[in-house]
């Protein structure tokens, strides 16, 4: 069972910049893999292709059994609802509480509020921030903010969890905590792909590592 499959994928931006070239790899469902490379190597572009924030200029991207090139624009929201994303700058909304930030994906999908509240608290509990639900995220530390971002990404139990430099702003101890959190979600079956350039941490964790260099996959970790 394949969760993500890239087949000869290329992405060239209108300005001529070749972000990705001839990408071939597959991520099995239930796998956890790191995506590494220098900044500008194409890590973010690769994640954006999976999220349909960008479309490839060549090749095919498959998520589960869906060929994304055949997915019409109208279906993109429903595609995104099956994926959880964690950003480096966590993208929290500071005009609402921690609880409401985490509840957003459930509101969008139309969950019953009582059910949603239960799931939000479960997600906050998993990242260890249940006691902070009523606070505004702006009052929290960057490690805590990142955890809220993670809670928001997993609150609807996505099959696929993507993270773009989730430990970028954190100190080593906090970074390791965050990575262990991802390992926990992976253990219950979620496919996880984490873009990171924190090589020492990645090497300690002993998972599959995909390495990008100048837009090409130089090592697919197999």
């Amino acid at each position: 069972m394949t969760a993500i499959r890239f087949s000869n994928v290329g992405k060239r931006y209108p300005n001529g910049h070749e972000a990705l070239t001839g990408l071939n790899f597959a991520l099995e469902s239930g796998e956890l893999a790191f995506l590494t490379g220098h900044s500008g190597a194409g890590k973010s572009t690769l994640l954006k292709l999976i999220m349909l924030m960008e479309r490839p200029t060549r090749g095919e991207v498959w998520v589960g059994e869906q060929d994304l090139s055949r997915l019409p624009r109208k279906q993109i929201p429903f595609h995104r609802r099956q994926i959880g994303v964690v950003f480096q700058n966590h993208q929290l909304l500071f005009d609402r509480s921690v609880f409401d930030n985490v509840a957003l994906p459930l509101q969008i999908s139309g969950y019953d509020p009582v059910d949603a509240a239960r799931r939000v608290r479960a997600a906050l509990d998993k990242v260890g921030l249940l006691s902070r639900e009523k606070l505004n995220p702006v009052t929290l530390s960057s490690g805590e903010q990142q955890r809220i971002g993670i809670a928001r990404a997993i609150v609807h139990k996505p099959r696929l969890l993507l993270a773009d430099e989730p430990t970028g702003n954190l100190d080593p101890a906090l970074s390791e905590d965050i990575m262990h959190l991802f390992e926990q979600f992976n253990r219950i079956g979620t496919t996880v792909l984490i873009a990171s350039h924190d090589l020492s941490l990645i090497n300690r964790l002993r998972h599959r590592v995909l390495t990008l260099q100048g837009g090409r996959l130089v090592d697919d970790g197999r």
Binding site: G64, F78, L104
Partner: protein, 331 residues
């Protein structure tokens, strides 16, 4: 709107590993959709009052733009009502054959008196006509050129009907009488008033159209600024799977609220303006017609004003949302 996700379930047998995905039924989605509508409407209202001064300024502009046409249309309605009640009885003047004897003329006027579709019949003999001509015009020396009285006998009729079509038919029938040289229907006054009213009404529509455009643009611009201020929220929402309709909804409700409250204020302004002119209009009306009461907006016009305001607000928001939401895409 919420179509089933295409690839929401993996095919084949039970997956070896993998989280159990949440599934939401259609009924839940419908309830969620309704709930979201109500919640979004409430939040849009709260947002409106969270910046009271800015909102009031916008509402004042909308109110004036909506009040002006309401006021003009109501004023026109009053003029119409008034003119319907005023004595505007049209006359038909029969110019008789000059060769007709005085007896025959007299007989004809008596015959006409018997008709019940006429309210009054007045005979003006050639002599009386000459006298009036001398008295009311400065051309009496013209008459020196004539050996005998050149004026025909005239019978002036006031028909019971005031319908222009019926009057024209009656005029044509009377013109066919052998004694009648010419039958003239005096509809000028009525025609002029009707023409004036048509012009005023058309102008009011043009003005109303321009001011509606103002409402569209004002609401559109206000909503555009709201969209800009909520850019982050739109981006995050789209990232976690919000549909275009979901993202659009709060802004459309803002537009509707602006339109509705603008229209309510406009209603107050229009009623106030009508109250201010009520007294002089009443004084004017009693000169022509007793017992005339100045009409306000009335229920029908009030409802039209409110729904027009709401629709224009929605339209303005729709335009702004269509123009700007697509530009805000994650990536």
């Amino acid at each position: 709107m919420a179509a089933e996700p295409r690839n929401s379930r993996r095919g084949g047998a039970t997956p070896r590993r993998g989280a159990v995905q949440h599934r939401i039924g259609v009924a839940d989605r419908m309830r969620g959709w309704l709930r979201h509508h109500m919640e979004v409407a409430r939040q849009a209202l709260v947002r409106l009052w969270s910046t009271p001064l800015a909102s009031l300024m916008t509402l004042a502009v909308l109110a004036i733009a909506l009040a002006l046409p309401s006021f003009i249309f109501t004023a026109l309605k009053n003029v119409e009502q008034l003119s319907a009640g005023i004595d505007t009885d049209p006359h038909i003047s029969l110019y008789l054959d000059v060769t007709l004897s005085a007896e025959r003329v007299d007989q004809l006027s008596r015959e006409l008196l018997l008709r019940d579709d006429l309210v009054s019949v007045e005979l003006i003999s050639p002599e009386k006509g000459l006298e009036d001509f001398r008295r009311y015009t400065r051309f009496d020396d013209l008459l020196e050129f004539f050996d005998s009285n050149p004026l025909p006998a005239v019978i002036t009729l006031i028909p019971r009907s005031s319908d222009p079509a019926a009057l024209t038919r009656m005029q044509q029938a009377l013109a066919q009488l052998p004694e009648v040289e010419e039958a003239r229907l005096d509809l000028e006054w009525v025609r002029r008033l009707a023409a004036f009213m048509a012009l005023a009404e058309r102008s009011a529509w043009v003005l109303g159209g321009l001011l509606s455009l103002t409402v569209l643009l004002v609401v559109g611009n206000t909503v555009r600024m709201t969209i800009e201020s909520r850019r982050d929220e739109i981006l995050v929402s789209k990232m976690v799977g919000a549909t275009d309709a979901w993202v659009r909804r709060p802004f459309l409700y803002s537009g509707v609220w602006f339109g509705l409250f603008g229209a309510l204020l406009a209603w107050l302004l229009a009623q106030l303006a009508l109250a201010l002119i009520a007294e002089p209009v009443q004084a004017l009306a009693t000169l022509y017609l007793n017992g005339y009461v100045v009409q306000g907006l009335g229920i029908g016009a009030s409802l039209t004003l409110l729904s027009t305001g709401m629709l224009l607000g929605l339209g303005g928001a729709w335009i702004a949302v269509g123009r700007h939401l697509r530009d805000i895409e994650p990536g």
